[in-house]
């Protein structure tokens, strides 16, 4: 199968390409960009006039809910959501039921995902058994089964001795640890940023210091052990400052921010909107500005969707009892574009944060259009506005704080391995 994508604005941050070029795909790989390879006769020609052609998105955190929580979402529903959002690779955290701490489970998940032939699924294995923060998981076995890194999802390792061992062990084999920086005692039972809004609404707060304290511990142990650490979902101005300093010091550290935290603050909770019950909590305008600045200057490496589909019933409860999370796979691209537009960041720079950079963090091959790489592409209309309507989302999770918002950036076509896996209905 040979595909010729013509007339599109090709953006490939890794190869520093941003111009109107043709893309040639053969045998599931990028054959060439620009001039037609010798003897290339296309079976299919896609006219991308007025559209942007970029590498398929690589999402650092998307919950697929399998195994165990199929009533919230399934691989089928969420992988379809992924490709309709232009996401062709995603990392899924280990907080499934059972937890991804057994090589067999990881193999099964990889196998089931592969059968769908949609987005590539890269599991993050549990860093400790059952995510309980007591004993090391079989990192090498899990790695062999397909885990690209190790994570505690949103559960903290309370015992610093264990955290130290986890980092030492991961560092021994060069595995990346994906950690959520939240000091568990300060955050206990907290459901919102410990500030003005939590005070007004009578919600138990999580102070910014909970992130700073956890970060201080993680950074210090990373420095001792040489572990490669990725901080998932940074939320505070102080956190950004600490990462900036750590990078300057030369620590092997990277971090991301969720698309929710780039656009929302504690005030969006309004009258107890359970869709704004997120972890980490939405923080202040000042924090939001600092996250944005950190993303602009490279302190924050990437944007993730933090996709967490939740069934309607689980959100129909008082704020604190409503399940945490927001759906995000289909919103990652338009929310990234919105951030770029509002902050005068180039399209190339923005796309880099959800393709090349995230692929680099995961250590996977996607996220670029280099010749001979997998032909995973996203073709979208950067100027088409669409209104977010939960019922129209492909994800089984309709839980979004962005309902009714109009966003620019509509995915028209997604290719994985040179196959069209999603095409917008005309």
């Amino acid at each position: 199968m040979k595909i010729h994508i013509k007339n599109g604005r090709v953006i490939d941050p890794k190869n520093n390409i941003d111009s109107k070029l043709d893309v040639f795909i053969a045998a599931g790989k990028i054959a060439a960009i620009g001039s037609v390879p010798e003897g290339f006769i296309a079976n299919q020609t896609i006219d991308a006039e007025g559209l942007t052609v970029c590498p398929g998105l690589v999402d650092l955190s998307a919950r697929l809910r399998e195994p165990g929580d199929e009533y919230k979402a399934t691989l089928t529903s969420e992988l379809q959501a992924a490709v309709s959002g232009g996401v062709t690779s995603l990392a899924c955290p280990p907080d499934t039921d059972p937890v991804l701490d057994e090589p067999g489970l990881v193999e099964m998940l990889k196998h089931r995902a592969k059968q769908h032939g949609l987005a590539h699924v890269y599991p993050l294995g549990a860093a400790t058994r059952q995510l309980q923060g007591n004993a090391l998981s079989e990192m090498n076995e899990l790695h062999a089964a397909g885990c690209v890194g190790f994570s505690q999802a949103k559960v903290a390792i309370k015992d610093t001795q264990v955290l130290w061992r986890v980092m030492e062990y991961a560092a021994t084999f060069g595995f990346t640890l994906f950690l959520h920086a939240e000091e568990p005692f300060l955050a206990e039972k907290g459901v919102a940023h410990d500030g003005e809004v939590a005070t007004r609404l009578g919600l138990k707060g999580i102070p910014s210091a909970a992130e700073a304290l956890a970060l201080a511990t993680i950074l210090r142990i990373s420095k001792e052990t040489g572990a490669k650490v990725h901080i998932s979902r940074l939320s505070t101005a102080e956190g950004v400052e600490m990462i900036r300093a750590a990078k300057k010091e030369g620590l092997k550290i990277s971090c991301d921010v969720s698309c929710n935290h780039l656009h929302l603050t504690e005030h969006d909770i309004g009258y107890f909107d359970a869709n704004c019950h997120l972890k980490p909590p939405l923080r202040t305008q000042r924090d939001k500005e600092a996250l944005s600045a950190g993303l602009k200057d490279g302190t924050i490496d990437a944007i993730c969707s933090d996709h967490t589909p939740v069934d309607d019933d689980a959100k129909l409860a008082p704020f604190a009892e409503a399940e945490i999370g927001a759906t995000g796979l289909e919103l990652l691209l338009p929310l990234t574009l919105k951030w770029a537009m509002e902050n005068k960041v180039s399209l190339m720079q923005a796309i880099k944060l959800i393709t090349e950079k995230s692929a680099l963090i995961l250590g996977v091959t996607g996220g670029n259009l280099s010749p001979n790489s997998d032909a995973d592409l996203c073709i979208f209309d950067a100027n088409e506005y669409w209104k977010i309507c939960p019922a129209a989302l492909k994800s089984q999770g309709k839980n979004t704080p962005f309902t009714g918002l109009e966003l620019a950036g509509k995915v028209r076509l997604t290719l994985v391995h040179g196959q069209v896996v999603y095409q917008q209905k005309p």
Partner: protein, 321 residues
């Protein structure tokens, strides 16, 4: 964002919190309550404003006093009253709040009086019910207890009619108190120029000053020249632990005694939402003293709750009462 408490004409649709209610609505409730004060002294303690209506007291968290005053208020308005202690029935069987509410709607309840341990529960129910049903928040978590806040300002207005010239101190566990939040919003909305909170740092929420209050940690400083002292209840579970070392130490530092009360203005009144912990937050001689208006608060509470129900039911109370 729509104000969930007001209908499209700006009338009260639900009473969920004091915050977000305009002054005219607060005054409407207070003035209506005034007209109900006399009802209890009549031989027949009833007015027919809610005849044929069913008021459902839905208590997901135990309460005797608040539930009783709502019951009395509804009965004096001639409503039929059902009281459910849900904490001991359906919830323990796994039924969700909204399932419980739907069942009661199917039984043709017209008004819900809701208490729940979680902040935002009343908002959740109000969002869920059809437009002809009204919801009154009787306390949700730490968030709001609007009828308590209203009865407190009603009481203050009785003793100190010029709200624009008052200095008021709220003392105690503001962090966990829905009463304090409601009082603060009611007082600031009605134009009280100086509202103080007095508490140790462990019992104050983050950025409490943004609610429009002055923060004091010392009773002697905070009580100086105030016209009203509003004490808060200290929940048993907070008394000995990470928040406070002991009840004895609390009483010594933040308990209201005759001695400390002398720092306030000589005609200052003392209030407490009850139930009181004598010897913990308040000394018996103060609670039973001549400056205490704690029992009148309870009496006025019924009038306030009658007023809220009557306004929600659309009666014209001033005429009918």
């Amino acid at each position: 964002m729509n104000n969930p408490q007001l209908d499209r004409d700006g009338n009260l649709q639900h009473l969920l919190s004091i915050e977000g209610l305009p002054k005219r609505i607060l005054n409407q409730i207070l003035d209506t309550a005034e007209s109900f004060i006399g009802v209890a002294e009549r031989e027949v303690k009833k007015v027919p404003l809610l005849r044929g209506k069913t008021v459902c007291n839905l208590f997901f968290e135990n309460s005797t006093r608040t539930r009783t005053t709502f019951e009395i208020a509804a009965k004096r308005l001639s409503a039929d009253v059902i009281s459910l202690n849900v904490s001991t029935s359906s919830q323990s069987k796994g039924e969700t709040i909204l399932d419980t509410v739907d069942n009661l709607i199917a039984m043709h309840a017209d008004m819900f009086v809701v208490r729940h341990a979680q902040s935002g529960a009343a908002h959740l129910i109000a969002r869920h019910v059809p437009p002809h049903i009204h919801v009154i928040n009787a306390g949700d978590g730490r968030h709001s207890h609007p009828t308590q806040g209203l009865l407190d300002v009603f009481t203050i207005r009785k003793y100190k009619p010029d709200l624009h010239n008052l200095r008021i101190a709220i003392v105690g566990d503001v962090l966990h108190s829905r009463v304090a939040r409601s009082e603060i919003h009611a007082l600031t909305t009605l134009g009280v120029p100086e509202v103080r909170v007095i508490a140790p740092k462990t019992l104050l929420p983050a950025q409490v000053q943004k609610l429009g209050v002055h923060v004091f940690h010392d009773m002697e400083d905070g009580l100086k020249d105030v016209d009203v002292v509003m004490m808060l209840r200290l929940q048993n579970e907070r008394m000995n632990g990470a928040m406070l070392p002991s009840t004895q130490e609390y009483f010594k530092t933040y308990g209201l005694t005759q001695e400390k009360l002398k720092l306030a203005r000589p005609d200052a009144i003392v209030m407490h939402p009850g139930p009181m912990n004598r010897g913990v937050e308040i000394d018996s001689t103060v609670a039973d003293g001549k400056q205490s208006v704690i029992l009148p608060q309870v009496t006025y509470g019924i009038a306030i709750r009658m007023a809220v129900m009557a306004i929600l039911a659309g009666g014209s109370p001033a005429g009918d009462a």
